[in-house]
Symmetry: C2
Subunit: 520 residues, 2 copies
């Protein structure tokens, strides 16, 4: 345990933007190949609104907070925090003078490091860093062979393994699917253990009850050593607002548990426009801002300096059927505004991911996923949950789509590399060598650059029609089906210290013995 702690790298949650640590980490990882633990973007964010319009949205959020307020239910300690901070508390309704939350948020770090048990997989969150994590929270899993069924702990482990096997994800995620074959009150133990056992990347802990969050953090203490955890972020909790304008006590107690332990929280309003928020984009964005600011500020009141991520989960609805829709243009373009607002607050940002409502890993799935994912890329998201596997409006984790999505994540590594302008890239000598009417296949410049020039997809078929047809005329889903089976068959778990492993198993056995199974 101490050995793991000693190997870990730079410091914890401090306001680091532009600081020496952040710059050092960026230099260390910029431009690395597939082995780099995260991306440093080399393209600017895509800012679509004027300062004036951003201010109008912020003013609307301030008025929502001051005139309507947010309910904090079943958590008296949260209300005490707000009273002490100078907010007005009336029953469970809290209203905030404009500027109050922004003042509280000044202690929140603009970038922070989340440590992995393998220090080479430690990630930077915030600034120009981009971290891809798999999808989160589906009750079902599906593949082309067996169709849709409830997820199990075996599926859960399979997805951790598929994630770990992909060089294009940076984070092991959290509740990748619900393992419904395990009791509700003990699931978190096996989930956290599985992340530790089958991945050496950073991961997320339980958020379904305060004691489960505490268990998740305790298991990290066994892995990293308690003193290291006290000073460094090693686990994240993903907290949903009960939009509109309600924070439930379960969520705020968990939020405070992570913050109290100096661990990271992702604050995520869940707004389907027309249901949990207004049907218009600007209003839903203002609401999202208000709800996120309140959650991030509560973490700061629990422990100033605790790492927080400015999250959102905006989507639209089919106003014909009332069904939620994902990967549609309005939330995609709305993400750009969310990104601008997060940067004005100076907080790390979480946005969208490979969203879709399709029930199959088909053309609809990847149209929607690509639009949604590119929005996260363009808006400047730092932590992109739901980067792989999302199907059927988050009801299913798809084995095939997981493979397609990680391939898209790979393409986005090249995309985020931007267009480099230097003498080698400008290639004037190559034009001199080749001249008009010839070709560049074998020229010196091509030979020197071809291995790194272009993204090389593992799932796309670029062969001539005849060759593709002779090979079986498979579609992308069929190829992905073969790939995930191959990767699982070839998987080797990263080595884990036997003492840590035994301590974790012992902890789980004691917890298991101490509690009756609960199934709901």
């Amino acid at each position: 345990m101490e050995a793991a702690a000693d190997q870990a790298t730079t410091g914890g949650a401090r306001r680091e933007r532009g600081g020496r640590n952040a710059r050092r980490e960026q230099r260390a990882h910029a431009g690395q190949g597939p082995g780099r633990p995260y991306i440093i973007r080399n393209i600017p964010t895509y800012d679509i609104l004027s300062e004036e319009n951003l201010t109008r949205i912020e003013t609307t959020a301030d008025r929502i907070l001051a005139e309507i307020g947010i309910e904090f239910r079943d958590d008296p300690a949260a209300l005490d925090h707000w009273r002490r901070a100078g907010a007005r508390v009336d029953g469970v309704r809290v209203t905030f003078e404009p500027g109050l939350l922004r003042e509280v948020l000044k202690t929140a770090p603009s970038t922070f490091t989340q440590h992995a048990r393998n220090p080479d997989k430690t990630v930077l969150i915030g600034g120009d860093a981009v971290v891809f994590a798999p999808s989160y929270g589906s009750p079902f899993v599906m593949d082309l062979d067996q169709g849709r069924r409830y997820g199990t702990i075996e599926d859960f482990r399979n997805f951790i393994k598929l994630g770990q096997a992909s060089p294009w994800l940076h984070h092991s995620g959290g509740t990748i699917c619900e393992p419904v074959d395990l009791p509700v009150n003990k699931r978190h133990l096996e989930m956290v253990y599985s992340h530790i056992r089958y991945s050496d990347r950073p991961f997320m802990g339980s958020v379904t009850a305060e004691e489960r969050a505490e268990d998740s953090i305790e298991m990290c203490r066994m892995l990293f050593g308690a003193p290291f955890v006290e000073e460094n972020c090693v686990i994240l909790g993903n907290l949903n607002v009960n939009s509109p304008l309600v924070w439930d006590g379960t969520m705020t107690r968990v939020l405070r548990a992570y913050a109290r332990a100096n661990q990271g929280t992702v604050i995520v309003p869940f707004i389907l426009g027309g249901a949990m928020g207004p049907v218009t984009n600007a209003g839903a964005i203002a609401q999202s801002l208000a709800e996120t600011m309140a959650g991030c500020a509560l973490a700061q009141l629990e422990r100033p300096g605790a790492p927080v991520i400015f999250g959102n989960f905006l989507s639209s609805m089919s106003l014909r059927s009332g069904s939620p829709t994902f990967g549609t243009p309005e939330p995609a373009i709305g993400s750009m505004v969310i990104g601008q607002l997060a940067r004005r607050l100076g907080l790390p940002l979480r946005c969208s991911g490979n969203f879709t409502t399709s029930k199959l890993p088909d053309a609809q799935a990847m149209t929607e996923a690509t639009m949604s994912m590119l929005a996260a890329i363009h808006c400047g998201a730092n932590f992109i949950l739901h980067s792989a596997g999302f199907l059927d409006g988050l009801l299913s984790m798809s084995y095939e789509k997981f493979v397609m999505d990680t391939d898209l994540c790979g393409a986005l590594h090249s995309y985020l590399g931007g267009v480099v302008v230097d003498d080698n890239q400008l290639a004037l000598d190559a034009f001199r060598e080749v001249g008009p009417g010839s070709h560049f296949f074998g020229c010196q410049h091509t030979m020197a650059n071809y291995q790194t020039a272009f993204w090389d997809s593992e799932t796309a078929d670029n062969d001539p029609f005849e060759k593709w047809e002779a090979a079986g005329a498979d579609d992308a889903a069929g190829r992905a089906n073969k790939l995930w089976k191959k990767r699982l068959a070839e998987f080797e778990a990263p080595p884990l210290d036997a003492g840590v492993d035994a301590a974790l198993r012992d902890f789980i056995a004691r917890k298991d013995a101490a509690m009756e199974d609960a199934w709901y």
Copy 2:
């Protein structure tokens, strides 16, 4: 004929950027619904390179033009133009002092109007306008029922009808597929006639020989009246550079024919990095700039003020197999730079489209298409050829993908609408009405806005899993298959003046009688 000419709207090819005509047209069409004839973008372009790096690329293009030059083969009149303009002509090789082409390009309009036979379908090209046109040039067609086969004039007409039936395209395109059942030397007559007969939108003419371009323009004179055509752009020709750095005589003769008649040309280098250009993005972009500037300038020398579109067709290769790849990240991000360069030149821009190498309308097809198409949207493309149907690296026009792509074009109408910030969109009253913990389904603000709030896809399935399964568990390609058949079955051609129709048929009959069929 004169009636059609009288109905046509504003003036032809003049330097209009920021001018009264452009602004008037923009106001007239901004924010219109599905019936608008083109889009006015309400989001900024996505500019990724600094002025300094753009200048380095421009300087490299200037050096390519000055030190290596471009060959203009089999067209002495083109060489005469260059000599008179002050370029150095050595055999067929032409070199250009830095600044020469930019000086010639000063007469090119930054925006122009392409007239449709139905004045309500007339489009603006350049500035903030965005025009979607179907894919162009495939020898094969395919659908899920019959698979891949050579295209026929019936397929060609079918695609015109499917385009005309979609509210999300703005232009009828050109050689949507090759009608290989017609003689090579007569195809263009039936193609131009079919655009006129089955669409009332603007379209493109033949580029395979000078006399076929002349025929295309002559048929427009019969439709719009010769005096109108002399003053206004009513047809476009799409001209490919024989990259690297060669303009073939067939292309420059056709280019000059369109320009001479005051008609529009789209100047398109075709560069697969590593084959027809360097394997590095910055160099391929510099080459594309050099080749496009030369083509656009030649049009200006033939007739100063002739409308030109700054085109490009950048893509990558699989360096494992040598196969071309489309919809990959490098050309997508490279498009952003192309957009910045076109704006610095002040020319309308054509970029990418729904590119893919997939052989099926599957997940690969739409991953690649969406990445490519969004690049065209973000980079500020004004005329987006290949917006619908592109499959198998442009070898096939797909009936199903045509439907999927036009649906994506519809989504992009909403995307380009951006985030509007006004009191209604900010929805403060809705928050007052609903308050914390309730929902927005039936509130006054939702009822007033829901019909226009969200893009309503015709091909996406947003139903719950059980409902989707009970309805047959179709994938997106299956739904698209049903949709194209329904649209063809319901198609009604827009009315065409019987006199014009008879004149066109008579022209074709006379041409047909005067030529032997040629099949290659």
